[in-house]
């Protein structure tokens, strides 16, 4: 029971804080109900056009590619740090990893992901 006590305390405290903030805000906060307030962006410019605008799918593809290689780098950092301990096995494994990523890149290039025409 005693081990759980801090957790319970924490939970109760969190609930209390949130509850307090919401209540105080509701009581104290100023309110204005004019049409400008109801707009999507309170910047003075009336919003125009649909919010559901289409973006070229190339943005997504590039983003995905970026993400893939970004993650690759994330994986390579720890390997670089412990390169000596991991030795030959580590080298082989990282090599396989990089080759696989390269295969992906080749595939992406062949499928024309980086063509902007």
């Amino acid at each position: 029971m005693t081990t759980w006590f801090p957790v319970a305390l924490m939970t109760a405290f969190a609930a209390l804080v949130v509850g307090l903030m919401v209540t105080i805000n509701a009581i104290v906060g100023p309110r204005s109900r004019d049409p400008v307030k109801g707009e999507a962006f309170e910047c003075g410019n009336p919003p125009s056009g649909s919010a559901w605008r289409r973006f070229s799918v190339h943005f997504y593809l590039t983003a995905i590619l970026f993400l893939v290689f970004d993650v690759e780098v994330v994986f390579l950092y720890p390997w670089a740090v412990t390169i000596r301990q991991l030795g030959a096995t580590g080298l082989v494994e990282a090599g396989i990893f990089i080759v696989l990523m390269l295969a992906g890149l080749i595939y992406a290039l062949r499928r024309g992901m980086l063509d902007w025409s």
Binding site: T89, L100, A103, Y107, R110
Partner: protein
């Protein structure tokens, strides 16, 4: 050379899935360099890789050894699935050739994803820790999401893919949370370590372990399409291209059950009292929902989806019993189920192509007249799924139910038997449609040697596994026994205490 020993051992465990994964990469690279028409021939690369992997599965057989620090396991259980899964995928490839072209699916991506999915399934079978298990599951699932949505001309296909993906992502969260809870409670993701920890009473009954167990049941329940986590199945099965449905109904089930059975029946066996009740409910619900809903279906793919739910229920009946006698029965059942289902979907693919029709029950009318061999094969698969002796489906059901009864799950067996009777009705409907209804005169069939070969393989397997079950049961027994070895000494120690 001495130092290379463990390394060689490790590579043995990864050889078969490695071949599949490598083939996938090769397929992807070669295929993307070819023109649209040429790229269909990459199917042969995929086929070669799958056959090679099936042969390489031998490398994983043997006594229970853990490799890669516990991440992958070498034993006959692994080898059993390393063999079965690529064979099933190969059969799917065999009947995909013309179908991919006819539907205008991107061939390169189709085969590459099929191979990646296969890799995932195999990893699930060989996984020795929960992370690799999860990795396999995700590799398999994500490939399947994409494949389900591949027929871009068909809005139903996109719908299938989207629904499958949404609910799949949802359930992945639960599974991962379950794994995390189990890790939190036991301090390890290695299945063996987890098993040892949960054997201690104090840990086994902690809320973390129980919740983790529950969420893992949810996650696997989704993948094996057990009710109430089955809701995605009919839509996904119906909308996906038929060959992909076959992969979902067979390969994904095999992979998911391979992992599920290993985790639950072997490593979490000490918690049997904790999970058997939930499995009981899942089994009863799956069988009943699956069979009753299948009665009302007019589309065969949808009907087979509900039938797959029902079959998951039958397998869960065996898992509920949880005794080690039931293990071989489950593997044998999966064997029979896999080929009967593959065959049924192969027939559907053939029908869709030969008649340029859909997969409604009406589309099969008069099939016996137009394509007697297709009809005969379909009848065979339906009878096996129905559990008609002496086909594989019957022997498997008998085997599972009798062990469950031995374990005193009387009501569950009664529900199961009643259900298997209800199922006779909708399987019989297919036969009735083919043999006893007149269909429109159709054009002559397109000859497809690979498809016919796939059909022949499935039909022969269904008959032989049922008529001469002995070698298959012993193979299943050996596989399960070798997976169980991990527990023997520990159990003995527990008893002496």
């Amino acid at each position: 050379m001495q130092a290379l020993g463990p390394l060689i051992l490790s590579w043995r465990s990864v050889l078969a899935p490695g071949i599949v994964a490598l083939t996938a990469v090769v397929t992807m690279l070669v295929g993307s360099g070819l023109s649209e028409d040429e790229s269909e021939s990459v199917g042969w690369i995929a086929l070669t890789g799958l056959v090679a992997a099936a042969i390489a599965s031998l490398a994983a057989s043997g006594d229970h050894i853990v490799t890669f620090g516990g991440s992958l396991i070498i034993d006959d259980y692994t080898a059993f699935f390393y063999l079965l899964i690529p064979v099933c995928s190969a059969v799917v490839v065999l009947f995909s050739f013309d179908y991919v072209a006819a539907l205008g699916l991107p061939a390169t991506e189709y085969y590459a994803l099929l191979l990646f999915a296969t890799t995932g399934m195999m990893l699930m079978a060989g996984a020795g820790d929960l992370i690799v298990m999860f990795l396999g599951l995700e590799t398999m699932s994500i490939s399947a999401y994409v494949m389900a949505a591949m027929a871009q001309r068909d809005p139903k296909s996109s719908e299938a893919g989207l629904k499958y993906f949404l609910l799949g992502a949802f359930s992945t969260g639960f599974l991962l949370y379950g794994i995390a809870l189990l890790y939190g409670a036991t301090g390890s993701i290695k299945l063996e370590a987890v098993a040892q920890m949960v054997r201690k009473h104090s840990i086994a009954l902690s809320p973390f372990v129980l919740l983790g167990l529950g969420l893992i049941l949810v996650g696997f329940g989704f993948k094996v399409a057990a009710a109430p986590f089955h809701v995605w199945t009919p839509d996904a099965y119906e909308g996906a291209p038929t060959s992909v449905t076959a992969l979902m109904a067979v390969g994904i089930k095999l992979g998911a059950f391979a992992g599920f059975i290993r985790v639950l029946l072997i490593y979490l066996a000490p918690l049997h009292a904790q999970w058997s009740g939930v499995l009981w409910a899942l089994a009863a619900l799956s069988m009943t929902v699956g069979n009753l809903a299948a009665l009302a279906q007019e589309n065969i793919k949808r009907m087979l989806a509900y039938s797959a739910i029902a079959h998951a229920g039958y397998i869960l009946v065996g898992m509920t019993a949880g005794r080690s006698e039931v293990g071989p029965a489950l593997l044998y059942y999966l064997l029979g189920y896999a080929f009967a289902n593959l065959g049924a979907f192969a027939v559907l693919v053939a029908v869709e192509q030969a008649q340029q029709s859909g997969t409604k029950l009406d589309d099969l009318s008069g099939l016996a007249r137009n394509h007697p061999m297709l009809a005969a094969a379909m009848a065979l698969f339906m009878l096996s799924l129905m559990g008609m002796p002496p086909l594989a489906g019957f022997v498997g059901k008998f085997y599972i139910f009798s062990v469950a009864l031995e374990s005193r799950y009387v009501w569950l067996v009664i529900i199961a038997t009643l259900n298997s009777v209800v199922s006779a009705y909708y399987y019989a409907r297919v036969i009735v449609a083919m043999y006893m209804r007149e269909g429109a005169e159709r054009q002559a069939q397109t000859r497809q040697p690979t498809l016919l070969f796939a059909l022949a393989v499935a039909a022969l397997a269904t008959v032989i596994i049922g008529l001469l079950p002995h070698p298959y049961i012993s193979a299943s027994s050996a596989a399960y026994a070798s997976a169980e070895q991990v527990l023997r000494p520990a159990t003995a120690a527990l008893q002496t205490k």
